[in-house]
Symmetry: C2
Subunit: 574 residues, 2 copies
């Protein structure tokens, strides 16, 4: 029943396939990893005809499971040269699953022309996209909603994707139909642009009904889980991801001044508390859900001082990399840059890191929000500096002759300095995705599945962090495979629910171990692809300055034994 | 007797070492490969404190062996991220050997300050280099000759090396004391800059006498070889390397218009014949020797239309990449760019390739020499475009969004299109150095050491080219290890002379097989370093356009089986 849609952009032909049975318990990142591994030549050029873009909902996608509407977008990354899965909330993932799709596989390239891929209950079509070219994601979504109805799911690329910039995102429309969610990392928007696809439109009004082996158990488990999440995730509901500004600053790992400090003296100005307060004052929404039925509602709708919509949603990673990392303490400036990036289709994180390097190189001053806003024009006008910045922090650092470049495998770090959050440093260093906090973020209180793991381990101490990263990489990958937002928890509770729900749906007898194995298999599949693409464990380390320079105020260094990073995944292979 | 000099730039200490006996038959590239492999952490940052710069003369360096004065400069490349040996003629290599040095190993970094490393018969000193900073290589050499005498050997870096641009060269003064020779590839000038070394000055007036087991045999063999070379290399003597303009155009492999054509309609204007004629008319020297005693004299001294010195020396690779590759048919324009590059200390090849990509991207017109000259100001003024170009063709292509980027492992191709010179394409793809013609250039008439190799194989046909590249990579490496200019011939005649001379010098009984093994061991050592640095055989291929686009006029494609490239070195390991 659940099917593959294959779209060949060379001749604009489309066809459906029944997935081989070996793909049965694959969804989301597990599925994109396998399809990329099976179908994309590892050494192909990421923006050439042999790469593919794969859109896949998770294994629980479209069901009543809480936060299960993430959409995975997979392919070979033009930013890292390795395998990439970037997932996002919004409405598309749910709808794709509800329409009976296991994956959409976009292949080859057109001679010329731009297309909208339209999918509905009756079939698939490729429509002319000329009228959308050059539109930013907000305008494009508006235009597409007018044409195709307010309830469609949307994946759109901005001008950055059209121009195939290697930090280009795929924007996913949220519950309001605006491009508030971004599959931002690794340049998957550029790959979509290289296929001549400006947007994918999904009308699920003729959605299929799922069948369940035990519908009652499924429904009751979802309700129980939902209640637990409402109870446990109050901080996220109240302050969104921005709650992490104070949390990270307090443990000395908030990326500040191009990763020179772990605390920002003006952190209160950009904190989750201040954000929620500002939003409430201006009539925005401090607790919004990006997808239907989310009980956590960590998203927000940010209005400017005049009470007009400015951006949806302002998240911690943007606040850290465009805020504290640049010593910018003005939420409005950060929100304007966020809005530009969401519209133009650029990863706020890699751009923020790139601007940090540019500030350190003296092109503009740390803390100068107006100068940072000026870079938007550089990008829009395609000045040489603009062209450099949109290639991300690694290229920007190279061109500017920087010695402190916060990137691993070509991708910029998230807002956590790895010297005082060492487990996340291990994840940055080892993940097949390049530096990626979502691959296994070892914040205080996160515990792995090993009995010996301390819940409140000191994040600035090396002991146990390698094991913790390993555990959380598996548990995070389970979320990515199931289509779950990882805010449900990267823990064994989640693994247990995933097990229960899959068994209730398919009448299987999967164990938690089986579920953990899905996570491990995903990562091993990705590593194998990377190895064939020429990316090896030799690249499993952080830039030297994280080992050589002490991070104030805690004076931590990244002191994880390099051999533990190189051998990180070895025991899974046995 | 032959010793190592170790220079620690952290505390500016120097000391001498007797090399371990295992290094006995190592010199030049064989020695730099081993020292880098033994002493440089493969994943270190190339411009950080853990990289080293190693200067080594060849095994025959400083003796009467013809063309034996090459200097190898080794380290980890900031351009490719892999191991690098870039060698060059000029006087330094001979002098270093004559002073009894097997290698100079420069380590660590100073807190601040710039130094001249001065070596003479009495010892070593590190002198203040402030007065040389910002000087181009011509001015720096002049200043150093004034201070230290006209007969010193010089290695100098220009502003590009001071700024640590990843295409920065090390300039080596020629027999006239001017920076006419460049160890140009892979950014070794940047590594030297990262050590705070502006120049190395060598006074060999107190040179040591070599001992020979059989001096008569040594001398007679050198004389015989010398005579043969004078006879065999007349074309090089008469027209220099530029003789290859017509040769390559005639077989359809002269890089033209950013590797879009294999022939240039204005090739006569930039040919070796025209070059020699122009030089003679203006009172330059069409047949100059870069080192003392060279019987080939392929170098030249190029004067401008007013009879003033413009550049020494104008070589084929520059003429191809800055000439035909840009459709520039004016030797004076090419010579001006060459002079700028030699002075500023930038690789003409990677810069020429980068300008080709910029022309294709529409920044300037193909054939517009004035616009190309204008880029010199962009570089000097450190405009953003200038900063991009000096990072070489791979970064330039990335920033400009180019899809046709002629580079392998981050290094730009030489002037031979690999579709019509497939064996050299195999070398580009597989050499641990990245795209590098000197690693094994499979021009017509070059034969390997396998009996079945045809001497006049069609260079546009795949058959036999893999084996030929393999043979020539070994034979070229023997030249690099012996300190020989590879114009003596990358063939078994050379291997046989090397064997004879080493035996005559050391009283050994080495066979030609032993000599070939030196070449193989060098490459295997380099591959092992690269593998640990994260560069694997997965990267052994050319950019896709060489396989996908036909090259006029012969309509060739690069059609070597990719698996043959991935497995290229496998059988040596058995």
């Amino acid at each position: 029943m659940s099917k593959f849609l294959r779209v060949n952009m060379k001749d604009q032909s489309t066809h459906f396939e029944d997935p081989p049975s070996s793909y049965r318990f694959m969804g989301g990142r597990r599925l994109t990893a396998q399809l990329v591994s099976d179908e994309v030549p590892p050494t192909c050029e990421p923006l050439g005809r042999n790469n593919k873009v794969i859109l896949a909902p998770g294994l629980l996608g479209g069901t009543a499971a809480p936060c299960s509407g993430r959409l995975s977008i997979g392919g070979k990354s033009p930013l890292t040269g390795g395998i990439k899965e970037s997932n996002s909330g919004g409405m598309f993932g749910q709808k794709l699953a509800r329409l009976g799709y296991k994956a959409v596989i976009i292949e080859e390239q057109p001679e010329n022309g731009w297309y909208v891929l339209k999918i509905d209950g009756r079939g698939v079509s490729l429509l002319n996209a000329d009228h959308l070219l050059g539109l930013d994601n907000y305008a494009a979504c508006e235009s597409l909603r007018k044409e195709h109805g307010d309830k469609v799911g949307l994946v759109v690329i901005g001008e950055a994707g059209e121009k195939q910039y290697t930090t280009a995102t795929c924007a996913i429309a949220d519950i309001d139909g605006i491009p508030a969610r971004q599959a931002a990392r690794g340049g998957m928007g550029a790959v979509m642009g290289s296929k001549g696809i400006k947007a994918v439109v999904l009308d699920d009004s003729e959605a299929v009904e799922f069948e369940f082996a035990d519908e009652k158990l499924y429904r009751e488990s979802c309700q129980k889980w939902r209640k637990e999440l409402i109870e446990k995730k109050k901080v996220l509901t109240e302050y969104g991801t921005a709650n992490l500004v104070m949390t990270t600053a307090n443990i000395g790992c908030l990326a500040t001044r191009n990763f020179s400090y772990g605390d920002f003296d003006k952190k209160e100005s950009i904190s989750g508390e201040r954000l929620a307060e500002t939003i409430k004052e201006r009539g925005g929404d401090p607790s919004h859900n990006c997808m239907r039925g989310c009980p956590i509602r960590c998203s927000n709708v940010y209005y400017d001082a005049n009470g007009n919509h400015l951006t949806s949603s302002l998240e911690f990673e943007t606040i850290a990399l465009v805020g504290s990392n640049l010593e910018i303490d003005d939420l409005d400036v950060i929100a304007k840059i966020d809005r530009f990036c969401d519209g133009y289709g650029i990863d706020t994180m890699d751009l923020g890191a790139a601007i940090g390097v540019a500030m350190e190189a003296g092109l503009l001053e740390f803390g100068d929000g107006e100068a940072a806003l000026g870079l938007i024009d550089e990008i829009k006008n395609e000045s040489m500096l603009g062209k450099v910045l949109v290639q991300g922090v690694a290229v920007t650092g190279r061109v500017l002759g920087a010695r402190r470049i916060p990137a691993v495998k070509g991708q910029g770090l998230a807002g956590y300095d790895p010297r005082s959050l060492k487990g996340t440093g291990v994840t940055y260093a080892t993940s097949p995705m390049g530096a990626d906090h979502t691959a296994g973020n070892c914040l205080p209180g996160r515990k792995g599945y090993r009995p010996e793991t301390q819940e409140d381990r000191d994040t600035g101490v090396a002991e146990g962090q390698v094991e913790l990263s390993k555990d959380l990489q598996v548990l995070s990958t389970i979320c990515d495979a199931a289509g779950l937002c990882f805010f449900v928890g990267t823990d064994t509770v989640t693994a247990d629910y995933v097990k229960t729900l899959l068994n209730a749906r398919y009448g299987e007898k999967l164990t938690v171990e089986d579920i953990l194995q899905i996570g491990k298999d995903t990562i091993l599949t990705e590593l194998e692809f990377n190895s064939k693409a020429g990316i090896t464990s030799a690249q499993n380390d952080l830039p030297a300055f994280f080992r050589e320079e002490k991070l104030p105020p805690r004076d931590t260094r990244f002191d994880i034994d390099p051999s533990e990073l190189i051998e990180f995944y070895e025991n899974w292979r046995e």
